[in-house]
């Protein structure tokens, strides 16, 4: 950690939050901190760790898929690995990544506040996250072996299998509380702690995105909590909520699971969209095109996103009427995302565009996320979905949306805010090279899966028919390209952390409030509470300042 790498500085108001004298010393100054920036940094390291773990698992899965039949692991191992890959990626990486890391660090600063509304609750959220993670890791080495249910924990299989399901879903239950409390904190912060002049429609779009996300976190996460507890009770006592022999229904589980997990898809993607709305204006040197439509579309996505869970269940035997309604609503939830993409592209029009590493990631995102979104249409359509659901087409679709959306934007945010968070600059050339590798590898890895899915290759298959091998080989090679890109990216950032050049306060010419404080920010974020008089992306002011330089 960057803590202590800078020589001791006299204790003044200028001292950044890493070096400020706190009540506790050393590691305790981190573990007992209630500073939103330190908590954000702690989340960052945890989240990157789990990303790398799940990525490694993914690489092993792809390696197993290289040849039909056994390549180097048994089916039980493979089934556990895809479960772990999904659970870790979703609960320990995708959901917390952008809100808990960048939201924690930058939301208060962007609002001109000194911290979140409930700093101690914020630390508690981090501890719940860590406890959840430790429980999840413990479940790997205890009980009846590594869980093999898939990340969806569908009953009755999750009730019948002897693997360690109970502890794993309990871990997810605990992680849920971290999410709920973070959401609660952000909502209150946005309502209560905006600095003077920061009206709702002068908030940065990242704050809007977090606002929409937080409401989903608070309202939807309790549903998965209850559902997961019911699995544990069902396994321990056979209470029969999901067992038809006892008057229960396995479909009830699927409803409950997706009532949370579909909105959760927007917990994953909305914050990323917020980051995009920050990065594009900065590197186009102009205000965002269509501020209000973008802000409102976040809320629209959050709202309509609640009403489309049934499209995960089109083949499960729910009534034909409900399928038609869910399909129609699903088509409508695609619209706000489309509107955002059009507005982002329009922002580029007549801008003064500089393609830096974060911007390159964002351009990559627009391309990849568009593919992900558009391939969602055939899955929302009723008759084509019955062919494509539960095949590799779905696997490709959600990797384009989740990894291509959230994952790529996590990388973009990391590069965009790295100078601010650590006060160091990274090697721009290497960062861009990594982005290109990631772009090529990503498409090589996931695009063949669309074709396989259309040709009828079901997902979660340990073995496959030989005619699919050429696509699997291509995808596996793609996974190597992708991973090498990711490794180059992280090594570049690690080197920057150690011996990067000192970052200026505003390396990109950004206009939001985080660029108006030092890099890294001081403990209280600002020397004096700022007053806002314009919208968030008013570049006319910054430009005149730059002319003076």
């Amino acid at each position: 950690m960057a803590n202590g790498t800078i020589a001791a500085v006299p204790q003044t108001a200028e001292v950044n939050f890493y070096n400020v004298r706190t009540k506790h010393k050393g590691i305790l100054s981190w573990l007992l901190t209630i500073d939103h920036k330190r908590i954000g940094i702690m989340y960052l390291f945890a989240v990157v760790f789990f990303f790398l773990v799940a990525m490694t698992i993914g690489v092993f899965m792809r390696l197993e898929m290289l040849t039909p039949g056994e390549t180097f692991m048994k089916p039980q191992t493979y089934n556990s690995l895809f479960t772990l890959h999904g659970v870790i990626m979703i609960f320990l990486f995708i959901i917390p990544a952008v809100p808990a890391v960048f939201g924690n660090f930058f939301l208060p600063i962007q609002l001109g506040a000194q911290d979140v509304q409930f700093p101690k609750l914020n630390l508690l959220s981090w501890y719940l996250y860590v406890i959840g993670a430790v429980l999840a890791l413990t479940s790997l080495f205890s009980g009846g072996g590594i869980m093999d249910t898939g990340w969806t924990f569908y009953v009755p299989y999750s009730i019948r299998t002897t693997t360690n399901v109970s502890l794993s879903v309990f871990a997810a239950f605990v992680l849920g509380f971290a999410t709920i409390l973070t959401g609660l904190n952000f909502i209150t912060t946005i309502h209560r702690l905006r600095c003077p002049g920061m009206t709702w429609f002068r908030m940065p779009l990242f704050a809007w995105a977090l606002y929409a996300t937080s409401w989903i976190q608070v309202l939807a996460t309790p549903v998965i909590g209850i559902t997961l507890i019911l699995i544990i009770l069902e396994r321990a006592f056979g209470i029969g909520i999901f067992d038809p022999a006892l008057g229960g229904d396995p479909l009830l589980y699927q409803h409950m699971f997706w009532i949370y997990s579909h909105p959760a898809v927007y917990i994953m993607i909305l914050p990323a969209m917020g980051v995009v709305s920050e990065i594009i204006p900065t590197f186009s040197k102009k205000t965002i095109f269509g501020y209000v439509p973008i802000a409102i579309s976040s809320l629209a996505i959050a709202l309509v996103g609640y009403l489309v869970w049934g499209h995960h269940m089109f083949s499960s035997g729910i009534s034909d009427t409900s399928r038609v309604i869910f399909s129609l609503l699903t088509f409508f939830v695609a619209l706000p995302s489309g509107i955002k993409i059009f507005n982002w592209v329009a922002t580029l029009y007549k801008g003064s565009i500089e393609v830096t590493a974060p911007m390159l990631y964002v351009l990559l995102f627009i391309f990849i996320f568009s593919i992900g979104g558009l391939t969602g249409l055939v899955l929302g359509a009723l008759n084509t979905d019955l062919h494509l659901t539960d095949t590799y087409f779905v696997v490709a679709h959600f990797h384009y949306v989740m990894f291509g959306g959230m994952g790529i934007i996590f990388f973009a945010a990391l590069h965009y805010w790295f100078p601010k968070m650590f006060g160091k600059m990274y090697n721009e050339k290497v960062a861009k090279t990594a982005a290109v590798w990631i772009g090529i590898g990503f498409n090589m890895l996931y695009f063949p899966m669309f074709i396989m899915g259309y040709l009828g290759m079901p997902r979660r298959y340990y073995d496959y028919l030989p005619e699919f091998q050429k696509y699997h080989v291509f995808a596996t090679v793609g996974s190597w390209v992708l991973v090498s890109g990711i490794i180059i990216m992280y090594i570049n950032l690690a080197i920057a952390l150690k011996r990067g050049k000192k970052a200026p306060d505003n390396p990109w010419g950004g206009t939001t409030l985080e660029w108006k404080t030092s890099s890294p920010p001081i403990m209280e974020n600002f020397k004096e509470i700022p007053t806002v008089t314009t919208g968030p992306y008013d570049h006319s002011i910054t430009e005149s300042q730059e002319v003076k330089k």
Binding site: T161, G338, I339, S370, D463
Partner: protein, 254 residues
């Protein structure tokens, strides 16, 4: 004559894909053009444009129209899929870990799905343990097998051909081996087969000619990789999993 389900699914797929590809091309080309044209070197001073209400309305209305077209086309296809013809022959499909059992109206059971050519067939899909999904890629449809309920769909068979059914809902250890051969034979032969009771009722051994198998999975629906033995026994590649690698104890006995 009702429209063919397979054609309808493919047409819907390519209609939506066609529109999607055009949209993707537009977005990508315009984006790259802007990044090139308004690059800081060529265009050092940005023009501040806050938005354009007309454009916002245009790019809201056009997608609304497009998705409504997609919705209605797919709904029409779906209605056809769900509206089972009255003359359809009913086959009961039971999924269990990890095989399919097919039962005909005369109580004949088989683990290979024999079907008469050019016939409407309705499947009643059940499960006796965990969730499965009865997927016929060649017929572009699937429906889950869920304990405690009976799901259904129907297909129309074509000329004699060999296909496969796969399990598409994850069901544990041997999920990826839960195939069943689907063999369409002339109606006369089918009736003969249905009414024939082999001496050992647990096995239905019916040799099938395999030289007619084609390689293109989707066009013909046939699979070249199911070998002769497979078709005879009805169990696909059971030999790839050695008996000792199958952990019986992974599942609690009920």
């Amino acid at each position: 004559m009702r429209p063919n389900i397979v054609d309808q699914v493919d047409q819907t797929f390519w209609l939506i894909m066609g529109i999607s590809i055009i949209l993707l091309a537009l977005i990508t080309v315009v984006m790259i053009y802007f990044v090139y044209k308004y690059n800081r070197k060529r265009h050092p001073v940005a023009e501040n444009i806050e938005g354009n209400t007309t454009l916002e309305i245009v790019w809201t209305i056009i997608p609304v129209i497009l998705v409504l077209i997609m919705f209605f086309v797919s709904w029409a296809g779906f209605k056809n899929m769900r509206d089972v013809p009255k003359d359809a022959m009913v086959v009961s499909v039971t999924g269990q870990m990890w095989k399919w059992t097919f039962e005909y109206d005369n109580k004949k059971k088989s683990d290979t799905l024999f079907l008469p050519a050019n016939t409407n067939v309705k499947f009643d899909i059940k499960s006796i343990d965990v969730n499965h999904s009865f997927y016929l890629p060649a017929f572009r449809t699937k429906e889950d097998a869920i304990p405690g309920r009976v799901n259904h769909y129907w297909i129309r068979t074509n000329e004699p051909e060999v296909y496969y059914a796969a399990c598409a809902e994850y069901c544990g250890l041997n999920h990826s081996y839960m195939y069943a051969p689907v063999i369409v034979i002339p109606e006369k032969k089918f009736i003969e087969w249905k009414n024939y009771t082999p001496p050992d009722t647990t096995k239905s051994v019916t040799p099938v000619k395999t030289d007619s198998l084609k390689t293109d999975t989707l066009k013909t629906g046939a699979v070249n990789s199911l070998n002769k033995d497979t078709l005879k026994t009805g169990s696909v590649k059971t030999d790839t999993i050695k008996p000792n690698s199958v952990k019986q104890d992974t599942l609690k006995s009920k």
